[in-house]
């Protein structure tokens, strides 16, 4: 067992974990932060996306021990109390979700995208969101929500 200390959504967490424990398993099963979803478990769908030291990464393809000492933000750490983050609000307003399963990953990836590129073009959004799959195929409104959250008029609106 390895002893790790991480800062998760602003709170210090210390735990003993197996070297092979995946970050997503630790978040969901040890900390019960079940907003981070497992869609494919094979680094493809992006439902498990979280921020690690400010970068969107797939938590199904990272070991907890690799994250030791780092800062993590999950979907649970995005809203301020009852007030949604502007990107979450935009997903709500523009109906950027259908079944909602991919939404936590979409929002986390979108946050990273907008932090690094505050006014992305539609093409940039589509390219940068390639690692997040929506099985309802609701991509258009997801792109619209990210455009709206960046203060731009969504395409087709």
């Amino acid at each position: 067992m390895k002893n790790v200390t991480l800062t998760i959504n602003g709170q210090k967490v210390t735990a003993d974990v197996e070297s092979r424990t995946l970050l997503v398993k630790f978040l969901r099963e040890h900390l019960r932060l079940t907003g981070t979803h497992v869609g494919c478990d094979t680094t493809q769908c992006g439902a498990c996306t979280i921020l690690f030291n400010g970068d969107a990464v797939k938590s199904c393809t990272m070991l907890v021990v690799q994250a030791d000492g780092g800062e993590i933000t999950t979907i649970e750490g995005v809203a301020q109390g009852e007030t949604l983050h502007p990107l979450q609000e935009a997903f709500h307003v523009h109906h950027g979700l259908q079944c909602g399963f991919c939404t936590p990953g979409m929002v986390m990836r979108g946050l990273d995208l907008l932090a690094k590129n505050p006014k992305p073009t539609e093409d940039e959004i589509r390219h940068e969101m390639e690692g997040n799959l929506c099985r309802c195929t609701g991509y258009h409104n997801i792109v619209a929500a990210i455009q709206a959250a960046s203060g731009q008029t969504p395409v087709g609106h």
Partner: protein, 265 residues
Amino acid sequence: MYEFDYHRAASVADAVAELGRVSDSKVLAGGMTLLPTCKMRLAHPSELVDLGAIAALKGIEITDAHVTIGAMTRHADVANSAALKAALPALCVLAGGIGDAQVRNRGTMGGSVANNDPAADYPAACLGLGATIVTDRREVAADDYFQGLFATALEDDEIITAIRFPRPACAAYVKFKNPASRYATVGVLVARFNDGVRVAVTGAGSDGVFRASDIEQALSADFSPAAASAITVSPDGIASDMHGSAEYRAHLIPILAARAVGACR
């Protein structure tokens, strides 16, 4: 995943010592291939030696003649480096097309080059630009480094520390990507130097990345898209799978080379 131990290396020397000490240990860079492989139980290392905390392995250094990139520099850092966009933009374009954004936030140049996946992008950059693979103990020319599918000149306990690229007059990488994985169905890197043109092809060779010498000769004589597309590539030695036949891939090589010539800057 099978059980394994984990060692966070403090330095390259520490990592090499650990690899020597523990049998069946394996280097962990970004983990974008190794961890999925472990999850599918296709790999069963006794210990992962993580290079993630070694700051000396990260960074981009640019001189008049060369670009040197630390082995643990992530694809996202290569893709977004303003200095590199000015010095060797082909490398930024290539890195920005690897996998997806989350993969680019973890995956590293050294990890990709050490793994030598036959459909990976960086091997084409190394071979096409005539890079030098710098390890903890020696320097290996890219022409001698890539030795077949997932095979390289690296010893079991040898660690890539950096990759040094000569700066070409111009270069471009064009990829016909698998739309699901974004690996190269075929990827071609064209680099023009004062003393000739190098063309490397990934995704297509049944033995991994290779140089397209006929196209190199044609482009060294006449650096134009038409000169590249006039070449016919034989499907012998070209890979065939569910994503494309050998004939299809062979057909794509001169087409992508021609597009790369047009995109060279």
